[in-house]
Symmetry: C4
Subunit: 234 residues, 4 copies
């Protein structure tokens, strides 16, 4: 079942090593089929060189395997919770990309420090707070998903306008309208983390945020009804 | 029309990913035909892998599309203003190359800290100041061009001797006698930004500028009537 | 003799340049055959491009060449001592990978600062202390091995749970159940050193260690009887 | 004339981009034929992709072109002076490799901070002091050579034991028994500069030098009559 979706998810997973976002077998991408109420995700711990479209695992939105001979990614309960809670999400990516992880380990949001950031993320990429011992000892991966949602709800951030997060001590999750869009956002997040790291070092005593009006201009140049970037504009 | 120019501009655009100056679809290169009063520029938001010479868009110097089925780069009004104002410019490049953007976001000029810089840029690469809300809300891309020119005129810098700038909060623009020359300058700008970042970190308490006489020697070793670098010297 | 083992060791050695862990001829990998009481190791100072499986050198556990026309790696006595002392080791890797060496030269352990680290190393990767003049002037490579064992015994660290070390002034050694597993650990060590360096710089005043319960969760998600990462779980 | 030498020098020049030591046309390698009293060097400002063995230029030891249709590297007088002054030199390399240039611009020697350095350079790689206006305005490239020799003589450093230098405000020169050996030393210099930069940042308040006895051990493990590294040992 779902041959086309498996192929799309396979290709989005293969885009992670192609864009230098993963080491070894790390990282995973999924995409949801809202009508069928399932999502397709990378199997756990498989080498990218050995991965095939038919290895992708079909999982129900409550996190049970529906089809597939391989174990799904251990992060599957995180994906499932995000799909259940945020119904606009079409695809999700998790990586250990180096610059985003550096910020995640430091517990510091990736600041909206320039137009490179503003073109994709409408504001800082927030940090989901450190999980408690209880949250880690019980349903760890589910609680990771819950902590992500809390980070957005507590600060009233729209997850479709800021399509990514850093989980403290861990690394980034990004999402989008489909798997490849989520990969796009994972690429941008790591690049802006890298650039921002150096900007912060060059200018340690100053707030490096762009003004709100420039954030607005660049974000809405690419998103929404008045967008005029690219070829599908109004 | 302008098949040869389109091909040159296409090749200069493709030189950006080949030299690791771009992520995704970011960046754009143009070249002007002064006789015909038009310039050719990359279309907006097209994947470099899909780009073809015939996709290049022909634009008049006042910024209107003369030929082409695709939307030109959103940065087209910036290019047009620079061509109108500085009549020696033959080609223009805009990128989000990582090291130059780090300086642009920090609002710090790239200092002339060594002969690597002096061979191409006769002095610091300046920062065009942050745009105001009015400048961003109205004709943003045009005002970006105006801010660049102001940065040079206010400090009496010759744009042909310092063929590049950092736009604050945004990133670098470089230019040259043609598109490929502007790409050359974009490559050098990112390399010297990278090296200078590390020099500044190694020696934070000291002015790292080269003495003026060494800047003179290296710049004029490569430029002007007494140049003796390369094969086309006098 | 030992054609299969030589091939495995050859392939593990070739994985070092493939994963950007070596410059020039630096680095070496070995794997032991416990039944025969020998290990196979890279010859000294041979270019990776010229290396062939049959060039691998067979060495007894007391460090004497048993078979091979080439000199074994100068680090052979270090490998031999580790195999003799820690009988669970199947493979050993030594590199001068850049980030791990930066920490080794600084004499600073690579901190368990995130789940990326916790998935592979159950705690900080320790530093074996600087050797004395006597230790360097006499059997230097043997004494390197002894200093590694002392670093683990003095702090009661299980070498199979923390499969790597930094030798002060020098660089990393990693190990594992076989040569390729040791290469895996060498890759992870350099990546976490790189990420931790940036985390420490972003957050210089704060302890960046993960809490013990998260270290437990991630390490035991991948190791031991309750592991549930990957395809060979219980 | 000198077909074999031209081929060797060509290959050594091509090893610079292959090892990521150059940007654009920067960098040059030469090798001397002491019997004939000439050296062969890269032409000035030629793209590495266009370079051919027959483009190499033959120059006399007093710096005059003996054969070749192209202008030799502008750094030719520096090479010539070093060959005249240090008669053990067989090959010379000049690059603008990024990490070595960062130290050169900062005016800071690359410290002997680990065994990676000690294997190739028997002590810190020194900085030749900034040239005066007179030195730059007159025979700049010759005076660069003189400043290099002064840096070694004033501190009584053996150029064959420390086969490289940083020229202040400029970049590295390395040398060796032939062109490819000099390239080897250029590779090592940039790698140790990169690693040392990070070590200095991790440990800013501490002297990061290796003890003299470890410098001795590693250097003499590879050099001199008691060397035991590699396959050509005694």
């Amino acid at each position: 079942m779902l041959e086309d979706l498996k192929k799309e998810v396979y290709e989005a997973n293969m885009a992670l090593p192609a864009n230098n976002l993963v080491t070894l077998t790390w990282g995973n991408v999924s995409q949801v089929d809202r009508e069928k109420g399932v999502f397709v995700i990378k199997p756990s711990g498989v080498d990218y060189n050995d991965l095939k479209p038919e290895d992708m695992v079909v999982v129900s939105l409550d996190g049970h395997v529906v089809e597939g001979n391989l174990n799904p990614s251990t992060d599957t309960p995180t994906h499932a919770f995000l799909y259940r809670h945020w119904t606009d999400l079409g695809g999700i990516v998790h990586t250990h990309s180096k610059w985003a992880v550096a910020f995640a380990q430091a517990g510091i949001p990736v600041p909206a420090a320039g137009t490179t950031h503003a073109d994709t993320f409408y504001g800082d990429v927030p940090v989901a707070r450190r999980l408690t011992k209880n949250e880690v000892d019980s349903e760890y991966e589910l609680n990771t998903g819950k902590s992500i949602v809390r980070a957005f709800e507590s600060e009233d951030i729209d997850p479709m306008a800021v399509p990514g997060v850093l989980t403290n001590d861990h690394g980034p999750f990004t999402w989008g309208k489909d798997a490849m869009d989520a990969v796009h956002n994972a690429i941008v997040l790591d690049v802006v983390a890298e650039i921002d790291y150096h900007t912060m070092s060059l200018n340690p005593s100053q707030d490096i945020h762009v003004p709100q009006y420039l954030l607005d201009r660049h974000y809405y140049r690419k998103h929404g009804v008045n967008a005029y970037y690219g070829q599908n504009t109004h």
